[in-house]
């Protein structure tokens, strides 16, 4: 009896111990060193999971690797998970992240596997333009490979343009005239939101007015309360007061809103084509795209905000070699052509086949030399400044008024950040 009770007690302790061990220990990790097999892939692009999966048969055939995808749709949760994973021996073999200061933070800590040889090969093969390399280069070495490239342009509803007799604008004045005509005809010209994508119009106005001013915000050389920025914000305020933007409190999917004709235009990244196709819109028939003309017609080149997201491999991942092999394959025309038809995005590889004619033309036009690529504000601003800017621009959009208090709050965050960097 006594023995039985002791055994039962011991059993309870062991069971609890086993439970804790099973909670703390991770699975996987059995594939160290083997290049072929299943690669654990983590991404914050939950909605893109079917597109990644669509490439599995192809990658399995080409390099013997298929992705086991763990997707998150909540960005902060995803970031916390990835940061935490570097403290374990289960850091990811392949994961999505953001370029700019966020990638630099990981590179500075020595957490990311170098991809210089992959980039050298891709450039030699003509799989990627040299321009793109700068977003992945730290101390002359490359880290990660591009997941995608997206240009921030204007999407428009073709039938609404036709009904209102509006031609695609080629100058800023024409765009403003078009907006005024739409507004007079009872059509809301532009989309806006007070959460997350609150920086878009700010970016368009500032970069289009003066790309150097825009870059000054990125480097901390220009204050957010600079009179030129205040003037730009006041222009935006006038447009807000003229009713040129959709209600920022709407949480309806913007693709659905454009499809329903709730606005005529939306300033978005070229990955938006996938969402528009998702709601049944056909390129060239239901929607089109144009590059937003520069606010200042005197600029030599029209600035086009560009975003490129990275696919990275953790330096200490047990799947390091497998992750790098997949990254190498991903850069090639076969993978990029397949990705383009799965996702409907602009491929960064010029040799890849583009299924969407409009996007192909857009890519060619941007490459024509008349345009200057500027880093999207989301990647350009240091994260602590970005968070405050997104919130304050959101507050300005929700309650348009004197822009100075909003700008001052952003500048306070910028001052604190740049003081820490000194």
């Amino acid at each position: 009896m006594k023995l039985g009770r002791r055994l039962a007690a011991l059993g309870s302790v062991l069971a609890a111990g086993a439970l804790l061990v099973s909670c703390s220990g991770g699975g996987g990790g059995s594939s160290a060193g083997e290049v072929e097999g299943t690669l654990d892939f983590y991404t914050n692009k939950g909605a893109w999971e079917p597109d990644f999966e669509a490439l599995n048969p192809l990658s399995e055939e080409a390099i013997g690797i298929d992705l086991d995808i763990a997707s998150y749709s909540d960005q902060p949760q995803y970031e916390a998970f990835i940061r935490q994973s570097f403290r374990t021996d289960e850091s990811p073999g392949l994961f999505t992240w953001a370029t700019g200061p966020q990638l630099q933070e990981l590179v500075d800590e020595g957490l990311i596997a170098e991809t210089t040889d992959i980039w050298d090969e891709a450039i030699e093969e003509g799989w990627v333009s040299e321009d793109l390399k700068q977003y992945y280069t730290y101390d002359d070495k490359q880290y990660c490979v591009p997941l995608n490239i997206a240009y921030w342009v204007m999407y428009y509803n073709i039938p609404i343009f036709e009904e209102n007799g509006i031609e695609v604008p080629t100058t800023w004045d024409e765009l403003m005239d078009a907006a005024a005509t739409f507004s007079d005809n009872g059509v809301t010209p532009f989309y806006t939101t007070s959460t997350l994508f609150t920086f878009v119009w700010f970016e368009t106005l500032v970069a289009g007015t003066d790309p150097e001013l825009y870059q000054g915000l990125e480097t901390g050389e220009v204050s957010y309360t600079d009179p030129r920025i205040v003037e730009i914000m006041n222009t935006w305020l006038e447009q807000e007061e003229a009713g040129w933007f959709t209600d920022p409190g709407s949480t309806t999917d913007p693709a659905t809103m454009l499809n329903n004709g709730e606005m005529a235009m939306i300033n978005f990244g070229t990955f938006f084509s996938g969402s528009l196709k998702g709601v049944g819109m056909e390129p060239g028939v239901d929607y089109g795209t144009f590059i937003i003309p520069a606010v200042d017609p005197g600029l030599d080149k029209t600035p086009v905000p560009v975003e490129t997201g990275p696919l990275c491999t953790a330096e200490n991942s047990p799947q390091r070699e497998r992750g790098l092999e997949y990254a190498r394959w991903w850069m090639g025309p076969e993978a990029q052509g397949a990705w383009n038809s799965a996702r409907g995005d602009v491929p960064f590889n010029p040799q890849a086949e583009v299924s969407d004619e409009g996007l192909a033309e857009l890519g060619e036009e941007i490459a024509s030399g008349d345009y200057e690529l500027v880093t999207r504000y989301f990647e350009a601003a240091p994260p602590p400044v970005l968070t405050v800017a997104l919130e304050q621009l959101g507050a300005f959009i929700a309650n348009p008024g004197d822009p100075l208090p909003y700008l001052q709050t952003i500048q306070d965050a910028a001052d604190a950040y740049w003081a820490e960097q000194e």
Partner: protein, 292 residues
């Protein structure tokens, strides 16, 4: 012999308790200690935390949004006491003695089965600009309705109402249990003495409900101090940071800004406030004369 048996019994008992203690230690005490340690550091989740002493606790009060967050949290505490608890009590008092009262209370109880984030999403659909409520109002000719989730403090008030939608039923249930446990005799005696419904409630029911009221109010205070899910589901603390609560501010600093030190300092502050509020309230209410 007896001592040996007693010792054996004690060791066995400890063995059985050990798994529970171990789980609590690992899942609650260790994270608490780690969070407290982090609150004295600067840490971005990578590398090692840097010890910075009390600077996170000092800096958080330099942030004007933190003051707004505290005020919003206080609004949640008061609002939750007035609406879900107050309405719950009213519902319980009006229905507990009614035939079929359970059927009147039941619909109020169903939303309790929905998670906070679910409540947030449902109400966000209703209250967003041009959402279900605005469209319903348009039918009655209201073409310029209030901006429910964009204007301050209206957004916090409507979120408290959404929380009430979920919380009234369970509060009513708890108060009904309390009302049912009141002995019938004093009520009958008071009725015979000519006491009206208000007098009955004020002089008999309310004092006799006190122990249960203490629990419901205590739970409400603790619950409202840590309000997070409904706000995240409806406004994410915005526009700007105007509807943030302390828990949302903590989440923003720790997980959106990857500033785990600052987020941990707010978490520790929130924990201390919650503990103090609970202790002060319970010590005051659960005195000997109100033993539950």
């Amino acid at each position: 012999m007896t001592t040996v048996r007693k010792d054996t019994y004690r060791w066995s008992a400890r063995g059985f308790i050990a798994p529970g203690v171990l789980l609590v230690a690992v899942l609650l005490y260790l994270p608490l200690l780690w969070t407290t340690y982090l609150s004295f550091t600067e840490y971005n989740g990578l590398g090692d935390p840097d010890w910075v002493g009390f600077s996170n606790y000092i800096d958080m009060w330099r942030d004007p949004a933190m003051v707004g967050s505290v005020l919003n949290t206080l609004m949640w505490v008061v609002g939750t006491l007035l609406i879900p608890v107050g309405l719950g009590l009213l519902l319980a008092v009006l229905t507990f003695d009614l035939k079929g009262g359970v059927w009147l209370r039941l619909p109020f109880l169903i939303p309790y089965a929905v998670s906070g984030i679910g409540v947030g999403l449902v109400w966000s659909f209703v209250l967003q600009s041009n959402g279900a409520l605005d469209q319903a109002l348009a039918v009655f000719g209201v073409t310029d309705p209030p901006r429910w989730l964009l204007d301050v403090p209206l957004n916090t008030l409507v979120m408290i109402c959404a929380a009430a939608w979920q919380g009234v039923g369970v509060n009513a249930l708890l108060f009904t249990i309390g009302l049912q446990s009141i002995p019938k005799e004093p009520l009958e005696a008071a009725r015979l003495d000519g006491a009206g419904p208000l007098r009955l409630f004020g002089s008999i029911m309310w004092p006799m409900l006190a122990p249960l009221t203490t629990v419901v109010v205590g739970l409400s205070i603790v619950g409202s101090l840590k309000t997070f899910d409904i706000v995240m589901g409806m406004t994410k603390g915005g526009p700007g940071r105007q509807s943030e609560t302390l828990a949302v501010t903590m989440y923003r600093d720790a997980f959106v800004n990857a500033n785990y030190g600052s987020g941990s300092a707010i978490a520790v502050f929130l924990m201390i406030v919650t503990l103090l509020a609970s202790l002060l309230y319970l010590r005051r209410q659960l005195s000997a004369k109100h033993e539950f």
